[in-house]
C-alpha cells in the first residue's frame, strides 16, 4: 500500500506510536487480570478460603491501586500513541497537500484541457481528507487491535485453552468479513465519488448557465438531469450503507456470541471447579476490552477502503509527469537580438486522431520593434500560436527559436519571463487590483503598477473607485466588465516588460478608440521589443509590419495591410466586410 509508505517519512513518530501502542495495550490487558483477582479475593473468603477479612481487604486495596496505576499508565500511553498517530496523519496530509499543489503547478495546459477543474478540486479536498483520516482513525487503532488480540490471546489461552479459544472464536470471522468488506467498500467509494462528481457537475453547470436554462425554460429538463444523477448517487450510498451496516452488526453479533459461549462453558467450568469465578470475570472483562475495537473495526475498514480509493485518485495526479518540463541542465534563455522564429511548426492537440493538425508548417519571424498580426477564421489555429510561444504546449514538428535557441532547450521559467501573453480569458484572483496587476512580479513598486495601468487605460477607472488600488476583485470582490478585465490583463503583462508581447484576441471587449489609446501608450514600451497581435478585428492589427492570414492551420496569405488589400484575397474580403459595411455584399 502506497499510502502506508508515505508514513515512513515520519518513521520515528510511527515507531514511537507503535511502541506506545504496545505498551498501552499491555497495560490495558492487565486490567481484566486485576479485576479477576479482586473478584477472587472477594469471593475467596466467602467461599471459605484461607486468610482473614483484613488480609482480603488489604489485598483488595493493593489490587485497586494496581488497577488505578494500570489505568493511568494506559491512559498516558494511549494519549501518546493516539496523538502520534494523528500527527502522522496530519504530517502526511500536509506533505500530500504540498506535493499535490506543486504537481498541479507543473502540469501543462494539455492536462488542464482534459481534466475537469471540479474533479481536481475534489481530489485536493475530499481525497486528501480521506487519506489523512485513515492515519488518524485507522492505522494506530489497527495496531492496537492486533496487539490486544495477539497478546490477549496468548494470555487467555495460556490461562485456559478452551475458554481462551472460545473467547477468540469471533476473531477469524471478523477478519474474514472485514477483508471482504474492504474490497467491496473500496469499489463502492470509488463509484460513489464518481457519481457525486457527476451530480456536482450538473449543479455547477446549471448555476453557471442559469441564463440558458431560463432562456429555454429548461428547468424541468434540468431537474430531470439532477434527479437521475441524484438517484444514482443515492443508490450507491445506500448500497454502501448496506454493506457497512451488515458488516459492523454481524461483527458485533459474532463477538457477543463468543461472549455467550465463554459465559456458558466458563460457567460450567466454574461449577465443575476447574476455574474460579474471578477467572471467568477476567475472561469476560477481557472481552469487554475488545468490544470497542471490534465495533471500530468496521469503521477502520471503511476508513481504509476510503483511504485507498482516495489515495489512488491522488496518486493518479501525483504520478503524472508534466509533458512540458525543463530539459536536464537547461540553461536560461538569453535574449540578445530579440528575434522570435517559427520554423515549419506543426502542432496537434493530444487527443486528435488522424491528420488533425491544428498548425501545418507555419513559418514566421518577428524581431524587436516589429509587430506581427495574425488573423483567420475561428479554429484556424491563431490562438494555438500564442500558446506555443511560452511553451504551454510543445510543437509537434519543426521548432520555435528565440535568438537561435530552441525554446525546448532553455529553462521554462526564463522563457516565460521573456514572453508575455495577454490571454483571451482573463482570470481575476481574489485580491486587490494592485495585487492582480502585480501578479507576475509581486515585488513591483506602486509606481510601476500605476504606469502599467495608465498604459492599459485602467488607471483613471481604478482611481475613481472608492478603495482605489486596494479594491478587491475576483470571486468575492467587485466584478469588472469584460473590457476592464482585458485591460487589467494587459496591464499585468505589460508591467513585466517582456521581450515578446503576445495579444491573444485580448481586446475583443475593448472599444476601438480605447484600444487605439492603449496602442499609443504602449508605443514606448514596445518599440524595442517584438509584438504579436492575434485578433479578428482588423483595426487592431492593420498597422502591423506583417500580417498572416491563417486558415486551416496554414498561412494562406502574408504581407503588409496594403499588400494584402492589393492582393485581393481572403484578407481583402474580410476587410470589406468589417470596415466597409456599406460596400459589403448586399443581402
Amino acid at each position: 500500500m502506497r499510502i502506508i509508505r508515505l508514513a515512513l517519512k515520519h518513521r520515528w513518530r510511527v515507531a514511537i506510536a507503535f511502541v506506545t501502542t504496545i505498551v498501552a495495550a499491555n497495560f490495558q490487558l492487565l486490567i481484566p487480570q486485576f479485576l479477576g483477582q479482586a473478584v477472587d479475593f472477594a469471593h475467596g473468603l466467602l467461599a471459605g478460603g484461607p486468610g482473614s477479612e483484613e488480609e482480603a481487604e488489604a489485598a483488595l486495596l493493593t489490587t485497586a491501586f494496581m488497577l488505578l496505576g494500570a489505568s493511568i499508565l494506559r491512559g498516558g500511553f494511549t494519549m501518546l500513541h493516539n496523538y502520534l498517530g494523528e500527527s502522522v496523519g496530519h504530517l502526511v496530509g500536509y506533505g500530500l497537500r504540498l506535493a499535490y499543489y506543486e504537481k498541479l503547478q507543473r502540469l501543462s495546459f494539455g492536462f488542464y484541457d482534459r481534466v475537469h477543474t471540479g474533479d481536481l478540486i475534489t481530489r485536493g479536498l475530499l481525497d486528501l481528507e480521506g487519506v489523512r483520516f485513515f492515519f488518524n482513525a485507522g492505522m494506530v487503532r489497527l495496531v492496537l487491535l492486533a496487539n490486544l488480540i495477539g497478546i490477549g490471546s496468548f494470555l487467555v489461552i495460556s490461562a485456559d485453552t478452551v475458554l481462551g479459544l472460545l473467547a477468540l472464536s469471533f476473531v477469524p470471522f471478523v477478519a474474514w468479513r472485514s477483508s471482504t468488506a474492504r474490497l467491496k467498500l473500496r469499489k463502492m467509494w470509488r463509484l460513489l465519488q464518481e457519481r457525486m462528481s457527476e451530480l456536482s457537475l450538473i449543479m455547477d453547470e446549471n448555476l453557471g448557465g442559469i441564463r440558458v436554462v431560463r432562456a429555454f425554460a429548461a428547468q424541468d429538463h434540468e431537474m430531470g438531469k439532477f434527479d437521475i444523477a441524484s438517484e444514482r448517487a443515492l443508490d450507491m450510498a445506500n448500497q454502501r450503507i448496506g454493506v457497512r451496516v451488515r458488516n459492523t452488526t454481524a461483527m458485533t453479533f459474532a463477538y457477543f456470541i463468543a461472549m455467550g459461549l465463554v459465559l456458558w462453558f466458563g460457567g460450567l467450568k466454574v461449577i465443575d471447579g476447574e476455574i474460579s469465578v474471578g477467572k471467568l470475570a477476567e475472561f469476560l472483562a477481557f472481552m469487554t476490552i475488545l468490544q470497542m475495537p471490534v465495533r471500530q473495526l468496521g469503521m477502520m475498514v471503511n476508513a481504509f477502503a476510503r483511504a485507498s480509493t482516495c489515495g489512488a485518485r491522488l496518486f493518479e495526479v501525483l504520478d503524472l509527469e508534466p509533458s512540458i518540463r525543463n530539459a536536464p541542465d537547461a540553461p536560461d534563455l538569453k535574449v540578445t537580438d530579440g528575434v522570435l522564429r517559427f520554423e515549419d511548426v506543426d502542432f496537434a492537440y493530444r487527443d486528435a486522431t488522424g491528420d488533425e493538425r491544428v498548425l501545418k508548417g507555419v513559418n514566421f519571424k518577428v524581431g524587436p520593434g516589429q509587430v506581427l498580426g495574425i488573423v483567420g477564421p475561428p479554429g484556424s489555429g491563431k490562438s494555438t500560436i500564442a500558446h506555443l510561444i511560452p511553451r504551454f504546449y510543445d510543437v509537434g514538428g519543426g521548432r520555435i527559436t528565440i535568438d537561435g535557441q530552441d525554446i525546448r532547450n532553455v529553462k521554462l521559467e526564463s522563457l516565460r519571463r521573456a514572453v508575455g501573453v495577454v490571454q483571451q480569458d482573463t482570470f481575476m484572483f481574489t485580491a486587490s487590483i494592485e495585487n492582480n496587476v502585480a501578479y507576475g512580479d509581486p515585488w513591483a513598486d506602486g509606481e510601476r503598477i500605476a504606469r502599467a495601468n495608465r498604459a492599459a487605460q485602467l488607471h483613471d477607472y481604478v482611481n475613481r473607485l472608492p478603495m482605489g488600488y486596494e479594491t478587491l476583485v475576483g470571486e468575492r470582490g467587485v466584478s469588472l466588465s469584460g473590457g476592464q478585465r482585458q485591460r487589467l490583463s494587459i496591464a499585468r503583462s505589460v508591467m513585466l516588460k517582456p521581450s515578446f508581447l503576445v495579444f491573444d484576441d485580448s481586446t475583443a471587449a475593448i472599444d476601438a478608440a480605447t484600444e487605439q489609446r492603449i496602442r499609443a501608450a504602449l508605443k514606448d514600451t514596445t518599440q524595442d521589443r517584438a509584438t504579436i497581435i492575434i485578433s479578428h478585428r482588423l483595426s487592431s492589427l492593420m498597422h502591423a509590419h506583417e500580417i498572416l492570414f491563417i486558415e486551416d492551420g496554414r498561412v494562406v496569405e502574408r504581407g503588409s495591410h496594403e499588400e494584402l488589400i492589393a492582393a485581393g484575397g481572403r484578407y481583402r474580403e474580410l476587410y470589406m466586410l468589417q470596415l466597409k459595411p456599406a460596400d459589403g455584399e448586399e443581402r
Binding site: 472477594a42 440558458v212 469465578v277 470475570a281 469487554t288 499585468r492 474580410l574 456599406a582
Partner: protein, 629 residues
C-alpha cells in the same frame, strides 16, 4: 500585508511580496453557529415528516438496542450470583445463557435496524434537502442569481447539506447515548444505591473537567476547520487560475504562500489533536478510580456479605462502558453548532422569495401569433435607477427588429424583459397579445427562444447540446439546424462528429464554434419569437458571414428581436429601434433613419463596423450636436 505603494523603487526581495493566494476576506460564512436555532430545527423537521414512521422505528430500535446493551451485564450478574455461587446450578446456568443469547439476538436485530434506517433516511433527507434547494434556485429570479457566485452556492448545496446529514445521524444516536447514560445510572442505583452513588461520584468530576476543557478545545477545533477551508480555497483558486499562474511564472511565490496556509492548517490540526487526546488519560484515570472504588468498597461489602459478588462484577462491567456516552454527548455540541450554521445557510437559500412565479391561472397556449409588444415599460435593477423609461413598441409577427444604441442604453434589459427574466416596474409586455405575467414561464420559454451574449454549453455531446431541452428532436432535425447556421461542416470534422463529447463548457471548441452551436440550439427549440442578445459580438467576420446568411433563413416566419452590433445585421432588419439612456429616440428602417439625420445617421456615417466601437466621447458629441440642431 502589501506595503504602501509609495515604497522605494528598487524591488527588495527581503520585503514580503505584494501577493496572496486564496481569499483574504474574513470568514463571512460562519462555520459554527449557536448550538440551537429554533428556526433551523423547525425547518429541518419539515424534511423529516415524510419519514416519520421509519424514524420512529429507528428511535424505537435505538431504545431497545440500548436496553439490551444495559441488560447484558445484568444477565452476567445472574449467571454468577444465581447459577454459579448460590447453588452451582447447571440448568439455571443454561437458562441464563439462553437469556443471554436472546438478548444479543435482540441486540443484533435492533442494531441492524437503527443503523440501516438512520443511514438510509439520512441520505434520503440529504437528497430531498438538496433537491429542494436546487429546485428553488431554478425558480428564483435572476436578480438574485446575478448577485450570487456559483462557487458559494455550490458549497451550500454540498458542504452545508452534508453537515445537516451528519447532524441527523448523530442526533438519533445521541438519543441512544443519553438513554444509555440514564439507564446505566438507574441500574447502578437500583443494584446498590450506596455503591452506586459512590461510583457515580466520578461523573461530576468528568463533567467539570470537560466544561473547563471544552471552550479551549472548541476554539482549537474551530481553528482547524477554518484553516483547512482557507487552504482549500487557495487550492481551488490555483486550479481555476492555473493558466495565468503558469503564464506569469508565479509558481514559486504561490507555492510559498500556499505552504504558509498549509502550515497554519498543520499547526491547527496538531493542536486540536492534542486537545482531543489530553482527555484520554483523564477519562482513564476516572474509570480506573471508579473501578478502584468498586473493588475496595464493593469488595469489602462482598466480604461482609452486604453485596452479591455478581453485582460487583456487573458494576465493574458498567464502569468500563460508562464514559463512552458522556464522551460522545459532549462531542455533539460542536456537531450541533456546525449543523445550525449550515442549516441557516441552507434554509436561507430556500427562503429566497420567488419574485417571478406563475399566476395560479396562468395560460399556456399551444400556439401564439408571435407579436411582441412593449407598452410604456419602466424598469430598473436597483430602486431609483431606472434603466428603461416609458419604452413602447410593437413587433408584428414575422417582423425583424434591430435594437441599437450605445453601451448601457438598455438593449440587454429590453431582451431580458421580453423573456420575463425580470418583471417590469410599470407598463406591460405582451407576447402573442398576452401579458407575459399571465403566461406560464414554461410556455413563454417554448414560444420565445434566446441566444445569449455568452455561448454556454453543457457537458455532453454536440448532439445533446444542440438538442438540449427539446429531447424529442431527431438526429435529422439537429443536423438540419446545424446546417442552417453553417456548423455542420466543423461538427463533422470533429473526431466523433455529432457524438463528440464537449470538454468542460466546450473548451475544445473555439468561441465562434460555441456561438454557432448555441445558434443551432435556438433553431431546434423552434420558437415563434427569436431573441438574439449580442450574439454576434464575439464572432469573427468569417463566421459572421455564415451566420448572416443563416439568420435570414432562421428569421423567416419568425419574429426577431436582435441586439445588433454589425451594421450589416442592422441594415437587414425590417425596422431599427435606437435606444439612448433607456429611451427610444429613433425608430424606422435604415433608409428612413439615415434620412432623418439623427444619432443613427451620425453613427452610421462614421463608418465604424459596430456601434460598440464608437467611443463614448463621440457619442456624446453627436448627441449634443443633434440636440442642438
Amino acid at each position: 500585508m502589501a506595503p504602501g505603494r509609495q515604497s522605494t523603487a528598487n524591488p527588495d526581495r527581503e520585503k514580503p511580496p505584494r501577493a496572496v493566494v486564496g481569499s483574504q476576506v474574513g470568514h463571512d460564512e460562519k462555520m459554527f453557529g449557536a448550538a440551537f436555532d429554533g428556526h433551523v430545527v423547525r425547518r429541518f423537521a419539515g424534511f423529516l415528516v415524510p419519514y416519520r414512521r421509519r424514524l420512529a422505528v429507528a428511535v424505537g430500535s435505538v431504545l431497545v438496542y440500548t436496553a439490551s446493551q444495559i441488560s447484558i451485564p445484568l444477565v452476567i450478574r445472574h449467571a454468577i450470583d444465581d447459577a454459579l455461587i448460590a447453588g452451582s446450578n447447571r440448568e439455571l446456568l443454561e437458562l441464563v445463557v439462553m437469556t443471554f443469547f436472546a438478548v444479543i439476538g435482540v441486540n443484533y436485530l435492533t442494531n441492524f435496524l437503527q443503523e440501516i434506517i438512520v443511514g438510509r433516511v439520512a441520505e434520503r433527507i440529504l437528497i430531498d434537502l438538496r433537491r429542494a434547494m436546487f429546485e428553488h434556485l431554478q425558480r428564483v429570479g435572476l436578480s438574485f442569481m446575478d448577485k450570487t457566485e456559483v462557487g458559494r452556492m455550490m458549497s451550500r448545496l454540498q458542504g452545508d447539506v452534508n453537515a445537516m446529514q451528519e447532524f441527523l445521524e448523530n442526533s438519533v444516536f445521541a438519543v441512544g447515548d443519553f438513554v444509555l447514560l440514564i439507564g446505566i445510572m438507574a441500574v447502578l442505583l437500583t443494584l446498590d444505591w450506596q455503591l452506586g452513588l459512590l461510583t457515580l461520584s466520578v461523573v461530576p468530576i468528568l463533567f467539570f473537567v470537560r466544561i473547563v476543557w471544552l471552550p479551549y478545545a472548541r476554539k482549537s477545533f474551530v481553528r482547524a476547520r477554518e484553516t483547512v477551508s482557507t487552504a482549500n480555497g487557495a487550492l481551488a483558486e490555483a486550479i481555476h487560475g492555473m493558466r495565468t499562474v503558469q503564464g506569469m511564472t508565479r509558481e514559486t511565490v504561490n507555492f510559498d504562500l500556499y505552504d504558509e496556509k498549509a502550515t497554519d492548517n498543520l499547526r491547527a490540526n496538531l493542536s486540536s489533536s492534542r486537545f482531543a487526546q489530553v482527555m484520554v488519560p483523564i477519562v482513564d484515570f476516572l474509570t480506573g478510580g471508579a473501578m478502584a472504588i468498586v473493588i475496595v468498597v464493593g469488595g469489602s461489602m462482598v466480604l461482609s456479605q452486604r453485596l452479591d459478588l455478581g453485582v460487583m462484577v456487573a458494576f465493574l462491567f458498567y464502569v468500563q462502558r460508562f464514559f463512552d456516552p458522556i464522551r460522545s454527548l459532549t462531542m455533539q455540541y460542536s456537531v450541533m453548532q456546525r449543523a445550525m450554521a449550515s442549516g441557516q445557510r441552507a434554509f436561507e437559500v430556500l427562503d429566497v422569495p420567488l419574485d417571478i412565479k406563475d399566476k395560479p391561472d396562468a395560460q399556456a397556449p399551444a400556439e401564439i401569433d408571435g407579436s411582441v409588444e412593449f407598452q410604456n415599460v419602466n424598469f430598473g435593477y436597483a430602486p431609483d435607477q431606472p434603466v428603461l423609461r416609458n419604452v413602447s413598441f410593437r413587433i408584428e409577427p414575422g417582423e425583424t427588429v434591430a435594437l441599437v444604441g450605445p453601451t448601457g442604453s438598455g438593449k440587454t434589459s429590453t431582451t431580458s424583459l421580453a423573456h420575463r427574466f425580470y418583471d417590469v416596474w410599470e407598463g406591460q409586455i405582451l407576447v402573442g397579445g398576452i401579458d407575459v405575467r399571465d403566461l406560464t414561464q414554461a410556455s413563454l420559454g417554448r414560444h420565445v427562444a434566446m441566444v445569449l451574449q455568452e455561448p454556454f454549453l453543457f457537458t455532453g455531446t454536440v448532439f445533446e447540446n444542440i438538442r438540449y431541452r427539446t429531447t424529442e428532436a431527431t438526429r435529422e432535425g439537429v443536423e438540419a439546424a446545424a446546417r442552417a447556421v453553417g456548423a455542420h461542416d466543423f461538427i463533422t470534422r470533429l473526431p466523433q462528429g455529432y457524438d463528440t463529447p464537449l470538454e468542460q463548457r466546450g473548451s475544445n471548441l473555439s468561441l465562434g464554434q460555441r456561438q454557432l452551436l448555441s445558434f443551432a440550439r435556438a433553431i431546434v427549440a423552434d420558437a415563434r419569437v427569436l431573441i438574439l442578445d449580442e450574439a454576434t459580438a464575439n464572432i469573427d467576420s468569417h463566421t459572421e458571414m455564415l451566420i448572416q446568411r443563416a439568420l435570414a433563413r432562421l428569421l423567416e416566419g419568425r419574429t426577431g428581436l436582435v441586439i445588433a452590433h454589425r451594421l450589416a445585421t442592422v441594415r437587414g432588419a425590417d425596422r431599427i429601434i435606437v435606444l439612448q439612456d433607456g429611451e427610444i429616440i429613433e425608430t424606422g428602417n435604415h433608409d428612413q433613419l439615415v434620412e432623418h439625420g439623427g444619432l443613427y445617421a451620425k453613427l452610421y456615417s462614421m463608418n465604424y463596423a459596430s456601434f460598440d466601437d464608437v467611443p463614448d466621447e463621440l457619442v456624446r458629441q453627436v448627441l449634443s450636436s443633434t440636440s442642438a440642431t
